[in-house]
């Protein structure tokens, strides 16, 4: 199947490994992955900061870049939610190709839960708010992780509570944001897991930043990176 990758501006710039891992997984499952180079950003940051007109422009250029794509896959729950739920509010009458967050695509479209990964580590999963509430990905990421060989999944207490990132909230209300992040990191550390996993590079960036500042014994990884691993 031919798949178009939308890497998201954040992962493109700061977390290229997430994009590479996404490709690894998709190609392993027999997809023909394309990366339309004209892509940039979904407009979420602009919409959520109060600039819907600027967001509208970005959504329109997304639509142009991906016009005719059979399926657009992206490794971010919040960007997927932006495109699915908010795009027509900033760009009226916009037509978008089908957009899938990675775990949705793997399970709903390809119909697989075992992606042939091996990752012999303890992992706890944070279901980021937009994946959880706006997209409703539900159990999908857990189902994928449970099939990973050697992986021990630890339950994260208060999993459905926000990590505190929230886009520009993280800088506009930095102290509140960090307080939320600290609680999330503490909960993850409390599970004894080596790795805190999520499907949004933005939330992971915030959590890694908090964990780093606190010298917490915790590494952060994107779901795609774990699914790509065959170690």
């Amino acid at each position: 199947m031919r798949v178009s990758l939308f890497i998201t501006c954040l992962a493109d710039t700061l977390f290229p490994d997430v994009g590479k891992a996404t490709i690894t997984v998709l190609e392993r499952l027999g997809c023909d992955v394309d990366f339309p180079v004209a892509q940039t950003c979904c407009g979420q940051m602009h919409l959520n900061t109060g600039y819907p007109e600027l967001a509208g422009g970005l959504v329109r250029s997304f639509a142009e870049t991906f016009a005719g794509s059979e399926a657009v896959v992206l490794p971010s729950g919040s960007c997927a939610a932006m495109l699915r739920h908010h795009a027509d509010r900033v760009a009226e009458g916009i037509e978008l190709p089908p957009v899938y967050e990675l775990s949705e695509f793997l399970i709903d479209v390809l119909g697989v839960t075992d992606v042939g990964a091996r990752f012999p580590h303890t992992v706890t999963y944070h279901p980021t708010c937009h994946s959880l509430r706006l997209l409703g990905v539900g159990e999908r990421p857990y189902r994928l992780l449970r099939e990973v060989e050697g992986l021990e999944l630890r339950e994260l207490p208060g999993a459905d509570e926000c990590c505190g990132f929230g886009g520009t909230f993280a800088v506009k209300n930095a102290e509140t944001s960090s307080a939320m992040g600290q609680d999330k990191v503490a909960a993850a550390v409390g599970t004894g897991a080596e790795i805190l996993c999520a499907s949004d590079s933005s939330c992971l960036m915030h959590l890694a930043g908090v964990a780093g500042r606190e010298h917490a014994p915790l590494r952060t990884m994107h779901l795609a990176e774990i699914l790509a691993s065959t170690g």
Partner: protein, 508 residues
């Protein structure tokens, strides 16, 4: 009706005890959310109190809601009824006025807080009241009624237990339902011991912080007020257009005493409180208690329709207030906020509220609903209201919990845009608007983005080079590390991979 003689009040002859920091004054000049939040976050006791209280009620609410297989249907029904009411509000208001008047009530209309207070004060003065008792009510807080009465030498006594704690503590409420949520039991005991005696029956000398003992002290203190006061003020949870009935829902029974014992009852009611018919109550008496106190049914539901000769208050007034509601109604996205039944579920699930408490919102309406309602009622011209829509991580927990399905995150986003427009209108170029435009320009074209990435990559480790993380990185780095900028962006890696593939293909 004969009344027991008034007890000697110790405050007589001394300086009157000021009990009411007027919400307006107390909140006015309060720092905008980010600064107020910073202060609150530093208060470890407050954070512990809030965390404990919100987590307890959260778990209970989930249980109470989980028992109802048709919860989502109920929720949609509640939202639908409210929307229908709001769509024809003018008709329902007239219908309410006619029905209530026919039943013997006097209906007043108030366009703003000042007018509502003036009407309330006049009624109290006409009855030569020096004291009035009150049922807990958001509407009277919103208009600053207690302060207006006090300015005319009339003391308003809160009778709701939590409200009493707030009043005696010289505090402002921080939660709809549990106004003293930010206080723990030891703090409450201290407040009772110190203040009760100054304004009425003193707390027993050996008062402990045991809940039963605290409740008993409050009961005895309040009983004195119930029996000696002839004018009461209330709000209403619902107002039925069809019958002119007002409804108050509560847990303690103190409200019912206020609503039935005095001779004169004045109810301040927001115009959005209407429901078309009596039958509509069925839905709301299910969704409200489960959402707010996590009870299947609230213990006391008091309804009254005008005056019943020989039974209850013989003079009944209803003050219908606008105070910004028609402004909110005119907002196509925001008007759904007027469905709010003040259950406080959104506060209890909000991770931001949990960390900073209600005071940081600097308004009678705190939490997620406050963050949209205040700007909708007042506009976003002042900095305080303009900051509120940004006091959220948009996690969506409030929307999920709201029994009338107010899409708070969407309204927040819309009000953020309104705040940005307002600044642009006054031609205030902010660092943010410049950064946002720059980012949109960079993102507007993939080549520009690639160039920006290269610059960032060259300056690896130097945070300011990540120019499009909107120029406010100080906030980020004060408490978090920044990720290192990778040597190669994804798109650079991709084009290299493509090139290699092409070269390979050509070689083969």
């Amino acid at each position: 009706m004969s009344r027991p003689a008034r007890h000697d009040r110790r405050r007589r002859g001394t300086e009157p005890v000021r009990l009411h920091p007027k919400p307006d004054q107390a909140f006015l000049g309060m720092p905008a959310f980010p600064d107020a939040a910073r202060v609150a976050l530093g208060d470890q006791q407050l954070r512990a109190n809030l965390r404990h209280a919100t987590h307890t009620i959260r778990a209970k609410r989930l249980n109470a809601v989980g028992e109802m297989p048709d919860w989502q249907d109920l929720r949609m029904a509640a939202a639908g009824i409210k929307d229908e009411t709001l769509a024809h509000l003018d008709d329902y208001l007239v219908q309410f006025e006619q029905a209530a008047t026919a039943a013997g009530a006097t209906v007043h209309w108030a366009v703003d807080a000042e007018e509502a207070c003036r009407i309330g004060v006049e009624i109290a003065q006409r009855h030569r009241a020096r004291d009035v008792i009150k049922v807990k009510s958001m509407a009277t807080q919103e208009i600053g009624l207690n302060e207006a009465l006090e300015a005319h030498g009339i003391h308003a006594w809160e009778t709701d237990l939590a409200e009493l704690i707030v009043q005696l503590g010289g505090d402002t409420p921080s939660h709809f339902l549990v106004p003293a949520i930010h206080r723990n039991r030891d703090e409450i005991r201290d407040i009772f011991t110190e203040r009760m005696g100054q304004v009425g029956r003193a707390a027993p000398d050996d008062l402990t912080s045991e809940p039963r003992r605290l409740a008993e002290a409050a009961r005895l203190h309040l009983r004195e007020k119930f029996l000696s006061t002839t004018v009461a003020f209330s709000g209403a949870n619902f107002a039925i257009a069809e019958t002119g009935t007002l409804v108050v829902v509560e847990s303690e029974g103190n409200g019912r005493m206020c609503l039935t014992l005095p001779d004169v009852l004045v109810s301040v009611v927001g115009i959005e409180k209407l429901l078309p018919s009596f039958a509509d109550l069925e839905v709301f008496l299910q969704v409200l208690p489960r959402s707010s106190t996590a009870e299947r049914m609230n213990p006391y539901t008091t309804m009254w329709t005008g005056v019943s000769p020989g039974d209850g208050p013989q003079e009944v007034h209803v003050i219908l207030i606008d105070n910004g509601r028609t402004r909110a109604l005119a907002d196509e996205v925001g008007r759904q906020a007027l469905r709010c039944i003040r259950c406080s579920a959104c506060l209890n699930v909000c991770p931001v509220y949990e960390r900073v408490g209600g005071h940081a919102y600097g308004s009678v309406y705190p939490g997620p609903i406050g963050a949209i309602l205040n700007p909708l009622l007042h506009g976003v011209t002042d900095e305080h209201d303009a900051q509120l829509p940004f006091a959220s991580s948009l996690c969506g927990a409030c929307y999920e919990a709201c029994p009338v399905a107010i899409d708070i995150p969407s309204v927040l986003i819309d009000q953020r845009a309104a705040a940005v427009r307002e600044k642009a209108h006054h031609r205030v170029p902010t660092a943010e608007s410049v950064a946002m435009k720059a980012a949109a320009w960079t993102f507007g074209d993939a080549k520009r983005l690639a160039r920006a990435q290269k610059t960032a990559s060259l300056g690896r480790g130097v945070a300011r080079h990540v120019g499009w993380l909107p120029g406010m990185l100080g906030g980020w780095t004060s408490s978090r590390d920044l990720p290192e900028v990778p040597r190669q962006s994804f798109r650079a890696w991709w084009s290299q991979r493509e090139d290699t593939a092409t070269v390979k293909a050509l070689e083969e």
